[in-house]
């Protein structure tokens, strides 16, 4: 296997698995033919087009869901560090901050938190819609996801509650168990992201091969 072939293979992994099963071999062939002889890497333009193409296949809901997971993970790290190492400043009940925290960090954190909370609602709905058209047993998964979402929100608010109780510069208390559940919550969000990137309809999953060959 040539270096170019390997590197093109990496890039093609940006596409979801169901799409790759159908198209990866064909696209790899075209990529190899389109690259100049002796090239080790596909050109920048080719790489960019592959990433954009992959994002198009995965869809907007997937992108927003990824954003949700990334913001959530970032928030969890931020909260953990603040709670366990720095302690709390006065003020904001729903935001963890430390004394004399730079305003720019506060602003970014507030925007991220609002975006995260707002995103979770349409994503939850999108997940419901997507899973419904699948199989009946997925209702169980939907219920599990929604349940963990509510549990996670409750835990987060409880953590904030404790943070408020520990005002005045003392370190707050957040148990390992709570953090684990928060982590599990984010993992479930990741799983939802995976579900959201699956084809919307059965026909989509093999659109090219389903077309009758003349």
């Amino acid at each position: 296997m040539s270096a170019l072939q390997r590197h093109c293979g990496w890039l093609l992994r940006a596409y979801p698995a169901w799409y790759r099963r159908d198209r990866a071999g064909e696209m790899l062939g075209t990529l190899l033919e389109a690259s100049p002889p002796g090239a080790r890497w596909p050109s920048f333009g080719e790489a960019r087009a592959l990433v954009i193409g992959a994002l198009r296949v995965r869809g907007r809901t997937w992108l927003l869901s990824m954003l949700w997971v990334v913001i959530g993970a970032g928030g969890a790290i931020y909260a953990t560090v603040t709670i366990t190492h720095i302690g709390y400043g006065e003020g904001f009940r729903w935001m963890f901050q430390w004394p004399e925290e730079p305003q720019v960090i506060i602003d970014v954190a507030v925007i991220a938190e609002v975006a995260w909370l707002l995103l979770s609602v349409p994503l939850l709905v999108a997940g419901f819609v997507r899973l419904r058209g699948w199989r009946r047993r997925n209702w169980l998964r939907v219920a599990g996801w929604a349940g963990s979402w509510v549990a996670g929100l409750a835990l987060m608010s409880q953590a904030a509650e404790r943070a408020a109780a520990g005002e005045g510069g003392t370190r707050g208390v957040l148990s390992v168990g709570e953090m684990a559940i928060c982590a599990a919550w984010l993992v479930l969000g990741g799983a939802m992201t995976w579900i959201l990137s699956s084809p919307q309809t059965q026909a989509d999953s093999s659109s090219a091969s389903k077309v009758a060959i003349r």
Binding site: A49, G53, V211
Partner: protein, 111 residues
């Protein structure tokens, strides 16, 4: 219709082609201006197939990989003709298209 889409359809006018052949033909038809990236090509082919403008015609194995050839459907040919005529007309009014695009359009337009 966006330019890459137009040239993909135009490249299939003389018969079905596989992925790389479409890229080459589109580049030739556009006087070297439209150099389709692989990702762009397949995104467009997915869309055009879904719209019924393009269809899968042949599947063969080359170097152990599947190679598919795509052909223009009658609705695809119709859409291409309409677009070529629109571009040729816009040359008459002198607006909207670059001279090279219009020259390519004239090559393809029956009028």
């Amino acid at each position: 219709m966006r330019e890459p889409t137009y040239f993909i359809l135009a490249s299939l006018l003389d018969g079905p082609l596989h992925g790389y052949a479409i890229i080459q033909r589109a580049e030739h038809l556009s006087d070297g201006r439209v150099r389709l990236a692989t990702g762009t090509l397949y995104t467009a082919l997915d869309r055009l197939t879904a719209e019924g403008y393009v269809e899968l015609v042949r599947e063969e194995i080359v170097n152990g990989r599947v190679r598919r050839s795509y052909g223009l459907t009658p609705p695809g040919a119709g859409a291409l003709r309409a677009e070529a005529e629109r571009m040729a007309a816009s040359l008459v009014t002198g607006r909207g298209q670059s001279p090279k695009t219009v020259r390519s359009a004239r090559k393809l337009s029956p009028a």
